[in-house]
C-alpha cells in the first residue's frame, strides 16, 4: 500500500500506532523531536501496578517498529492542506505528502518551579517525580546520594487541579505514581518515614487499590489529607512544609529531608501549535479537541487528522496504548474508504 501516514510524536501512543499500522501493511512515518523514542516513559524506572521496568516496555515497542520510517530530532515545520490530504514539511528538510496524520504529541510535565511556594529550584532538598525516577535509573542525584534521609514527603497535585497553575484537570496518574515512588523509597530507605500529602486519593485503575493497601500495610506510608501550601528551609538544609491536616482540622508543620513534587500532566504547548496547522483546536481543558469526547476521542474536526494518547488529556500507559490501536484502525478504515 502506498498511502503515506505521518505520526507526530514517538512516545507510547506514536509507537503503538506505528506498530499496528505496520501490522496492517502500511509504512508510517514517525517523527520525534527528541533524540530517542519512548517519550516520558523512557525517563521512568518502573511502572505500576506490576513494577514492570519502563525500559522493557519502550524497548519492546522500538524493536517492533524498526520497519517504519523514523525521524528522530525532527519536528513538523508546517503542514499544508491539499485536495486529497496533507503536505507535511519536516525540520530536517523532508517533505511528505500524506493522506492521514496522527497527532500523538503527548504532554508536558508541569514545570514545578512555577509553583514558587514549593521551592523547586530554590531549596536544595526539593525534587520532582521525574527527578526521582532518574535517580532510580542512575543512582546519581546530589539531593539523595550520600544524604542521611530520614523523612520523605510527597506532594500530590503539583500543577494539577490548580487554576493558579493554569491547569484545572486531574492528572490521573500522580496519586498512583506517588504511592509507587513512596514504596520504592521506603524499600531503599527502610528507616525513613514517608508521607504523602494529598487532596483526594484517586486510585481508579486496575489493581491500584491493592497498591494503596500495600503502601499502608507493608510500607507504612503516612497519608495526610491536606494540600501543602508553603515550603521553607531550616539551617540544616532540611525543608519544612506547611499544610493543614484537614482530617484533624489543624494546621501542621513537618520537617523533611527530601520533598518530592508530583508534577502533573499539562498540555504540550508545541503540540497546540502543530495542531493549529491542521485546524485542530484546544478543548476547554487546554488539551487537543476531539470530535467528541465519548465515542470519537481519536478523531478530530479535520478530515484525515487523528489523535492518540495524552494529547487529549492525562492517561495511563494502557489507556494510551489502547487509544493508539484504535487510532491505527480508524486510520486504516479512513484510508480504505478514501480509495
Amino acid at each position: 500500500m502506498k498511502d503515506n501516514i505521518v505520526i507526530v510524536g514517538g512516545g507510547i501512543a506514536g509507537m503503538e500506532a506505528a506498530r499496528q499500522l505496520l501490522l496492517l501493511g502500511y509504512k508510517p512515518i514517525l517523527v520525534e523531536k527528541s533524540d530517542h523514542l519512548g517519550g516520558h516513559v523512557a525517563d521512568w524506572h518502573c511502572l505500576f501496578p506490576d513494577m514492570t521496568p519502563a525500559q522493557d516496555v519502550v524497548k519492546g515497542l522500538v524493536e517492533q517498529i524498526k520497519d517504519a520510517n523514523i525521524f528522530l530530532e525532527t519536528e513538523v515545520s508546517f503542514i499544508n492542506r491539499m485536495k486529497m490530504g496533507y503536505n507535511v514539511m519536516f525540520s530536517n528538510g523532508v517533505n511528505v505528502i500524506c493522506k492521514a496524520i496522527l497527532l500523538a504529541t503527548g504532554f508536558d510535565l508541569f514545570e514545578a518551579s512555577r509553583k514558587e511556594e514549593y521551592g523547586y529550584g530554590i531549596y536544595d532538598q526539593v525534587m520532582t517525580n521525574r527527578d526521582l525516577e532518574r535517580w532510580f535509573n542512575t543512582g546519581d542525584d546530589k539531593r539523595i546520594t550520600g544524604k542521611d534521609i530520614k523523612k520523605i514527603g510527597f506532594v500530590h497535585c503539583v500543577g494539577s487541579r490548580d487554576v493558579k497553575a493554569g491547569n484545572q484537570q486531574c492528572s490521573k496518574v500522580c496519586c498512583i505514581t506517588a504511592i509507587k515512588q513512596a514504596m520504592e523509597m521506603k524499600e531503599r530507605f527502610p528507616d525513613a518515614e514517608v508521607y504523602c500529602f494529598y487532596m483526594d486519593l484517586r486510585l481508579f485503575g486496575k489493581k491500584y487499590e491493592d497498591f494503596y493497601i500495600k503502601a499502608q500495610m507493608e510500607s507504612g506510608v503516612h497519608f495526610i489529607r491536606g494540600r501543602v501550601s508553603e515550603v521553607s528551609e531550616n539551617m540544616q538544609g532540611q525543608v519544612i512544609i506547611k499544610t493543614e491536616d484537614t482530617l484533624s482540622g489543624k494546621p501542621a508543620k513537618i520537617t523533611l529531608d527530601l520533598l518530592v513534587l508530583m508534577a502533573g500532566i499539562v498540555c504540550n504547548k508545541q503540540a497546540v501549535q502543530t495542531a493549529s496547522m491542521v485546524q485542530v483546536q484546544t478543548d476547554s481543558d487546554g488539551f487537543l479537541k476531539s470530535k467528541d469526547n465519548i465515542l470519537n476521542i481519536i478523531e478530530t474536526g479535520s478530515k484525515g487528522v487523528f489523535l492518540a494518547g495524552t494529547a487529549t488529556g492525562a492517561k495511563t500507559i494502557p489507556e494510551t496504548a489502547a487509544e493508539a490501536r484504535a487510532a491505527a484502525l480508524a486510520i486504516h478504515n479512513y484510508l480504505v474508504a478514501q480509495s
Partner: protein
Amino acid sequence: MMDFGFSISPSSTMNLDKVDLTLYDRLCSIEPDARKCMACGSCSATCTAGPWTGMSVRKVLLDIQRGKDKEAAAMLKGCMLCGKCTMVCPRGINTRHLILSLCRIYGEDAK
C-alpha cells in the same frame, strides 16, 4: 408507628436533616464560588492569622455548611484579611471577599 417521644440520636451526631443552611445559601448568592471549595486545606495551612487566632477558611466554610454558625463566627473574628488564602486557593475562590461577605451577613441576621 409508635412514638416514644425521644429518638436514639446522641448529641454527638450531626443531624443533617435539620441543618439550617440560611447563612450558607445567602453566602452563595453573594459569592457563588463558595461552592467550589474542595476542602484541600491550602487556605488554612498558609493562613497568617491561623496560628494566632485559630482562623481557618476551610473550617469556616464547612461549619456554615453544617449549620454551625457560632463556631464559624468565632474563627472569622480572627481573620487579618491578608489575602494569602486567596492567593493559594487552587480553585481560585475569592476567599477574602467570602470572609468579608460572611461578616456582613452575620449583621443581617441580627436585624
